[in-house]
Amino acid sequence: MSKEWLQVKDLRKHFETPKGDLRAVAGVSLKVEKGDSFGLVGESGCGKSTLIRTVLRLLEPTSGEILFDGKDIAKLGKTHIRRLRKKMGLVFQSPHSSLNPRMTVYDTLARPLLIHGITKNKRDTTIEIVKLLKLMGLQAEHMIRYPHELSGGQKQRIAIARALAVNPEIVFLDEPTSALDVSVQTKILKLLDFAKQEKQLTYFYISHDINLIRVVSNKMGVMYLGKIVEIGDTGTVMANPLHPYSVGLFEAVPDPDPDKKLPELILKGEVPSPVNAPSGCVFHPRCPFAWEKCEREEPKLLKQSDQREVACHKYS
């Protein structure tokens, strides 16, 4: 197994707007190894969803490389992409809108199985669907239900089962629990973890919830205005974030400890628009440590140790 199993190199995705180019993904490089659970955190509008949609080729990349299993999928033609889809699954944030309300659970799950030729006849399809439902802690009887007859948690389990139906190698999970109540969140996370062991999957989580990423990932990245500012082992990054944005972001998370008082606020102001983003380091207008160089020169992701890379002039 090559170490660089999924590797994104200087990937860019720009959108044209009347006010200028919106650089949603502005040069992202990252690696995911087989068996990893990679977590990407960032606030809304930082480009995390656009990033995974571009990696999945649901959006056409503006430039850059996406190496998957040795091939550059940024340049693949349509027929090859379809084959690729079988290897990459995607679970969306809201199961309320990602499931077709007019399709039963059976139809929803049968579709990918038949399209990708995993099962050829009705009997095999049913057997496979029962297996998938079981994997997600549901019963065969759920097969004949429509989405409106299921709870939010059950719907999300169907959406996950659909992503797993084609035996993907990597599954992208876009805020898989943020539309759900806390009492069902744990169940989903545990089922995902179980499925990962069972099917030897690789996960790519994106979330705005830092504590969620802490729990589910072993590698993580912090994204701000289209760029990765810090990336590395989850334990290392969480225990001692280096980039001023990571520090501020982690500090802003409400701490469920009633004895702790509100800490000093580090992140002031608001995220600037990705159209005409700030020069140099995109974080410099909000950074308490910024100096003249930060305004001028864009910091590169530099290795700080074997466990982490940081894009900040303070550490270069």
Partner: protein, 320 residues
């Protein structure tokens, strides 16, 4: 300390095509003046309905079956719409909603909307009203107030809009604010800024806040007491410290152990089996019993009364 709000045995239902939704069933809630009181629960538990009842904004199909909602001793359930408008809404009790975009009028500038709120208060010179508006916007720590006044809602971020809402609310100087998931649509860094604005008000004014949310972690940052709501009933009320360190009701315990913390692992997280019941024909007895590990036969028959198990620590569970 005086109680500003006392909800007694409130039962409320909605008529729908599918049947009667028993949204609130015997809710008891006391809020002390000057305190920040958290009301936590999952989707559909009735926490927003509780807030809307206090401010008199229930939908037409809501039916109040029994109970009292006492605000400074006066029963709001007996108030007419006109009385609500004149005596309560805005003046005594204000409400801030989850989505600030839909609370502001898109065709009026911030200045116009702020002035309207201030003008309702008392007749004053135009100039002094403008000064008051600027002071209010400064109070919620909005930067660059001068240019902000000329802007329209769509030009502001969600966090800024929410702070404009707070400023507008302060303009009428109410005694109580009902905040219904005010930070749910905001990013964590913006949420942190918003919570600090509230904390500042807590330290400098005598404002009472009923903070409605599904996020326990947010409550720990600002609240004094918390009431936990499940399927239309309050199951536990205690100080924020007790809810976290000494939760009593089985639902509260599960809830506390299911939130993601800095030291959570997949193994340490608890799950609650099943899902929240529908409130058309809800489970008899204790509504949590079908999901409760400690449930006994009696739980499916008897509605648990509220018991005091410690100082200001109330629980509705037969096993306590």
């Amino acid at each position: 300390m005086a109680k500003i709000l006392e909800i007694r045995d409130l039962k409320l239902s909605f008529e729908t095509e599918e049947g009667t939704v028993e949204a609130l069933d015997g809710v008891y809630l006391d809020v002390e003046e000057g305190h920040f009181h958290g009301l936590i629960g999952e989707t559909g538990c009735g926490k927003s309905i509780t807030g809307l009842t206090v401010i008199g904004l229930l939908d037409n199909n809501a039916r109040i079956e029994r109970g009292e909602v006492l605000f400074r001793g006066k029963d709001l359930l007996k108030f007419t719409e006109r009385q609500f408008q004149r005596e309560i809404r805005g003046k005594e009790v204000a409400m801030v909603f989850q989505d600030p975009a839909s609370s502001l009028d898109p065709v009026f500038s911030i200045k116009d909307q702020m002035l309207e709120a201030v003008r309702l208060n008392k007749k004053e010179e135009k100039q002094s009203n403008e000064r008051i508006v600027k002071e209010l916007l400064n109070k919620v720590k909005l930067p660059d107030v001068e240019s902000l006044l000329e802007k329209y809602p769509h030009q502001l971020s969600g966090g800024m809009k929410q702070r404009v809402m707070i400023a507008m609310m302060l303009g009428r100087n109410p005694s109580m604010l009902i905040a219904d998931e005010p930070t749910t649509a905001l990013d964590v860094s913006i949420q942190a800024q918003f919570l600090r604005v509230l904390m500042d008000l807590k330290n400098t004014t005598n404002l009472t806040v009923l903070y409605i949310t599904h996020n326990l972690a947010v409550l720990t940052e600002i609240c004094d007491e918390v009431s936990v709501m499940y399927a239309g009933r309050i199951v536990e009320t205690a100080s924020i410290g007790d809810v976290f360190n000494n939760p009593s009701h089985p639902y509260t315990r599960k809830l506390v152990n299911s939130i993601l913390r800095a030291d959570s692992t997949l193994d340490s997280l608890e799950e609650i089996p099943g899902s929240v019941p529908r409130l058309i024909n809800p489970p008899p007895g204790c509504r949590f019993h079908p999901r409760c590990e400690e449930a006994v036969d009696e739980c499916s028959r008897v509605i648990p009364p509220v018991k005091e198990i410690g100082t200001n620590h109330l629980v509705a569970c037969l096993r306590r």
